[in-house]
């Protein structure tokens, strides 16, 4: 087997779990198969493993019910918050007036952070093993919108204001399966209260609920497993 072929096999095998990778690479070394067959064998196993994860509803919900629509809606909301901030501040930093506009902006910033964090958390905790696919699906609309963003007064990175809390949420979601019921309830109620100003606007309830359901999902999952300790650690394979 050539060194390039073996390198390809080792790269492909990174998608397998540690123990399985060791057994498979050992088997291929022992059998002394051709590079091409080795790569096909490893990729075949990787595809079968990934396909098995998608038998459950969870990865589908995480990818197509949350990652894809969530990133699109949060990008739109990021731009909206940036524009509101720009209108309120104007050219000078100290020209800010504390009033209705400021309160609304503050509410929206908080809402953006809460929506992004809960969305990321649920994405990470719903399907840990397919989180790479979910992340890729959420980055696709980002790339598309970044390439086509044409608002001159705003930097195109305003689209990605949601990214930091979302990544933080995914990270926490991968670490812990659920949060305490009280924390989940406070978060869900806070998000719902923060969306109240938008209730009067027609047509906004769909995006509101599309972004708010992860918070209530967290409440439901915490409610269903109240006996679990403060946080349930994922079993590390």
């Amino acid at each position: 087997m050539t060194s390039i072929g073996w390198s390809l096999i080792e790269v492909a095998s990174q998608l397998l779990e540690r123990r399985e990778r060791e057994a498979v690479l050992g088997d291929l070394t022992e059998a002394d198969v051709s590079s091409w067959r080795g790569v096909l064998d490893v990729l075949g196993l990787v595809i079968r493993r990934q396909a098995m994860h998608w038998k459950s509803w969870r990865p589908w919900l995480a990818a197509f019910g949350l990652a894809l629509p969530g990133s699109l809606l949060l990008m739109g909301f990021s731009v909206s918050v940036s524009q509101a901030y720009q209108r309120l501040l104007g050219p000078t930093v100290f020209g800010i007036t504390v009033g209705e506009g400021f309160t609304l902006l503050l509410c929206n910033v908080l809402l953006l952070i809460c929506w992004s964090w809960t969305g990321g958390f649920v994405m990470g905790s719903l399907s840990r093993r397919t989180v790479r696919v979910s992340a890729a699906l959420s980055f696709l609309p980002c790339m598309f919108c970044l390439a086509r963003f044409r608002v001159e007064s705003l930097s195109r990175f305003c689209l990605l204001l949601f990214l930091i809390p979302a990544v933080w949420g995914v990270h926490r979601g991968l670490q812990i399966a659920q949060i305490k019921l009280r924390s989940a309830l406070i978060l869900a109620v806070a998000i719902t209260v923060l969306t109240i100003p938008a209730w009067s606007r027609r047509g906004s309830w769909i995006p509101n609920w599309a972004l708010s359901w992860p918070a209530w999902y967290l409440v439901a999952t915490s409610w269903r497993a109240p006996a679990v300790k403060e946080v349930k650690r994922w079993r590390v394979n």
Binding site: R19, E20, E22, A23, V24, L25, G26, D27, L28, T29, E30, A31, L40, D41, V42, G44, L45, V46, I47, R48, R49, M52
Partner: protein
């Protein structure tokens, strides 16, 4: 009831005894059936049979001929033996009267005479 490939895997593992592990089982299946056995089919089937309690697996120590990598050893459990026996009996029963099975029995009898 077991599937065809599951039966082949259990039978190969049982035949190999203490030397049953991924590469050896694969070689055995390929040699006896003359068909290619992919690593993907092998390891996903081993996992499925282990989840059903028909096989048990563990990682052995690393060996130099495998580049210092461990083997995934396989052992057929008593339930696995029963399931394989059940499959074999079913196939034998259902084959009675089939032309290929009758001819084979007749040929066998002829060769004995």
């Amino acid at each position: 009831m077991l599937g065809e490939f599951e039966y082949l895997l259990i039978t190969a593992a049982a035949g190999l005894g203490d030397n049953a592990y991924g590469a050896a089982i694969r070689e055995e299946i390929e040699a006896t059936t003359g068909r290619r056995c992919s690593i993907g089919a092998l390891y996903t089937t081993i996992d499925r049979l282990e989840a059903k309690g028909l096989l048990s697996t563990w990682m052995s120590d690393a060996t130099p001929q495998r580049g210092g990598r461990a083997k995934r050893m396989v052992r057929v459990t008593p339930n696995g033996v029963l399931a394989a026996k059940d499959f074999y009996d079913t196939v034998t029963r259902v084959s009675r009267g089939a032309s290929w099975a009758v001819n084979r029995a007749a040929n066998k009898a002829g060769s004995l005479l």
